[in-house]
Each structure stands twice: as structure tokens, then as C-alpha cells.
Amino acid sequence: MNSSVSSSSAALVRLEQVRFAYGEREVLRGIDLEIHRGQVVAIMGGSGSGKTTLLRLIGGQLRARSGRVEVAGQDLGGLPHSALYALRRRMGMLFQFGALFTDSNVFDNVAFPLREHTDLPETLIRDLVLMKLQAVGLRGAAALMPAELSGGMARRVALARAVALDPMLVLYDEPFAGLDPISLGIIGQLIRRLNDALGAASVMVTHDVHASLELVDYVYFVSAGGIVARGTPDEIRASTDPYVHQFVYAEADGPVPFHYPAAPIASLLDKVSA
């Protein structure tokens, strides 16, 4: 693990005072974070806390309302579409349910970015695709269609596709959602192993505290549009911050209340008895 990635090295991803809103509803309020090459970073937080929005800002799918989102030294805010696409060729993204192309088999899904962005001969593409599939343990499934894959297998194929062009940055949107423990362990190991092999940076948005604390180098906790805690997995486990504690130990009540806001029940009882 790269828990002590030098803070002096240039950050691959840097967010400075980023604010974002969907219409009038402000989702992110002044986010600052840095991600370096070699790191696997988790962004955690409850549902609707803005972590997926954060991932989309890093991928350039959304533009910040104010502040600066920088990837590989380029400010995404003012980047023209062609330059954004050039940058995305050096990124990979794993979607929550894989987002495999349902009209293509496993082989063609993984070959897609290679065919689109390179002029490699088909024989070389075949070798590269089989190598990527071998890395995720699915070389034997190359001829299967996405509908024939389990959730875990689909996620592994999508991972092979995401790293097909050896990206410098890989984004993961809920990579563990809906997986059985074996598939979850496999995906976790693959994320770590591929990141280390590529010397890339990985950003993972997840709810799964225990699986991700086992493999990441650094964690950012997002709540109410801001970063409420940050640190290494050990620091997070030992955190006394009430929100982090509630999240890590899955407590039903705390800073995130169990009850939806309502009038005190005593006032209702008074009305009934009157």
C-alpha cells in the first residue's frame, strides 16, 4: 500500500474549493482533496451525500459551479471538449453495474477502447484483450455475452475494459455494490493489483467500509456537501469524529438521525388525549 505517498509529489487529481449544485440544491460546498499516483483513495459517505457527484466532477462529466478541478495538471473547468476527450483516453471508469455493451460479447467489450483509439492490427488487439481478460481471470469467458455473466463477472469484464488502455487514473463508482463476499474480495484484490501494476491512481466511491478500508491508502468522508473527515484506514478506524464513528461501526442513530424530522411524539399524544 502507498499510505505515505509523498505529499510533495504533484497531485494527479486536485480539487480546490469546489462547489456544485443541481439547480438550486447545492450538493458540494467547498471541497478540497488531492490524489497522487500510486494511491487507491476511497470517497465514502451516506446516500445523497454527493460522493458520486464528486466522481463525475473528476471524470469531467459535470462541471463545477465554482472552484477548480484539476486532473494531470489540466483544469477541467475551462477544458474544450476535444481536450477533455484526449484526457479521458488516459482515464478508465468502472460503472456501478459494469455498463457493458449488451450487443457485444466479452471480447468485443474489452476490445472497444483499443479499436476506437488505436490503429493496432486485429491480431495485436486480440493478444492485448486476452491479456487483460487473463488479468481479471476471465480469459475463458471471452465469447460470452453480458447477459450470460454473473454480477461479479460483469464487473471484472468492465474492469478489464476500464484498464484496456493502461490509464493513469481509474474511477470506480460503487465497485462492491450487490456482490457476494467472494466476488467482492476478487474485485477488491483486482483494484489494488491493477493500480499497483499500472502505477496509476484509483478513486473509489463506496459505502462498503470494511472491504474498502482493507485495500485503500486514504479515505475522504463526505457529508452534507463537505469533507468531514480524512485519513489513512487506521486513522479512520480510530477516529473519534461522531459521523465517522457512526458510519464505520454502522450505528443506527447519531449525527445521521434514525428519525426523519417530525414534530415531537408527545405533542401528538397531547392532541389525542385532548
Binding site: Q61, R88, M93, A99, T102, F112, E116, H117
Partner: protein, 260 residues
Amino acid sequence: MTAVLRRIGALTVDGIWWLGFISRFFAMVLIHSGQSFRRLPLTIREIYFSGVLSLLIIVVSGLFVGLVLGLQGYDILQRFGSSDALGIMVALSLLRELGPVVAALLFASRAGSAVTAEIGLMKATEQLQAMDMMAVNPIARVVAPRFWGGVISMPLLAAMFSAMGIFGGWLIGVVAIGVDNGAFWSQMQAAVDFRYDVVNGVIKSFVFGVAVSLIAVFEGFDCQPTAEGVSRAITRTVVGSALAILALDFVLTSFMFRGL
């Protein structure tokens, strides 16, 4: 009364917004159409899905429309002692109107709805987003080939519809009822003008192809990425295409066939 006016106003504003969005989308499709022609297999694949797979419904419907035209035409024409003109009536009805219009309506329900569903489901399952994140423009890779596949297929399907219709008219008129075979074909040949009747029919089917394909790809691309959203988009494609075909047919007919 105020509520009715407000509703009419809201519908008008929504309609203008929709027109604005679809015009902008059309411009984007045209701008990104280069890839559809540079990578011809993508477009040929869509011609297969939109055109070839629609052949059955087009051929069968064309045949039945021709059979009905033959029966109705003979019934009317023989009252005036001009049953020999059956070939002209069948051919002109099909080439000028029924071929392009009915084929386009069938094309919208068979291929248009399928294109909307496919693009809508790709959106709902994040396939379009995944493509965009791989620096591949979904309009160039997914939308434009489907649009051109539809535009190219439509005139061919309309021609097939008209041919089958004429065959159906001949089957009823000549084979079943006994209209003179020579008169059926020679009168048709003499009366049908290539530029005035055939080319205008082809122009109509091309315009309908552009309208139906554009509505189908736009509704799929613009839909809410949910099961309900995709289903609504399919309904909008079929209804919107039917209205567009009929309205455009009136406009085109008023320009093309004024008896001048």
C-alpha cells in the same frame, strides 16, 4: 377559462422548447455524421436492423393494401365503365400517397420504436455514459449510424411497399376479377410520370425517413433513464412520428401535386 388558456400556453411553450432541442440535436447528428460514412459497417448494420428486419411487415402490408385497392378501385371504376384504368388508380395511389405514408407509419412502429428502446436502454444501463467516459462520442458512435440507417432504409421500404401493392392490385384486378392484363399495365405505363409521380414519392419517403429516424433517436437519447422513461419515449416516438408524417405529407402534397 384562464386555466384552459394557461394550459394552451404551457403546451405551446413546451412545444417550442421541444422543437429547439430536437433542432439542436439534429445539428449535432449532422455534425457527427462523418463517422457513419467513414465506418460504413456501423451504418450497414443499422440498415439491416431498421430496413431488412422491417421487410416482412412492409411486404405483407403492401400486398394487403394493394389487394384492397384492387377491390375498391374496380368497384368504383366499373360504375363508370373504366375498369381498364385500374392499373393507373392502384399505381398512382401507391406511388404518390399510400406507399410513402403507410410504409413510414409502419416503419415508425416497427423500427422507430425499436431504435428508441435500444438507445433508451443503453442510457438507462449507463452504456452511453461509459462510451462518453471512454472518449467516444455516443452521438457519433450510436446515434448517427442509426439515424442514417433509418434515412437510407425508408425510401427502399416505401418502394418495396408500392411494388407489393401494385402486385396485389394486379392479383385482384387481373387474376381474380379478369381485368385485361395488357390494359392494366399499358395504361399504368402511359399515365405514370417518372418525375411527377415516382420521384415525388421518393422525396416524400426520404423526408418521412428523416423525420421518423430523427424523432426515434432523439426520444431514445433524451428519455428519462428508467423503465417508465423508456416506455414513455417509445410512445412519444410512435405518436410523434405518426403526426409528423401526416403533417409533412399534407405540406409536401400541397407543394408537389397542385394539378399545375
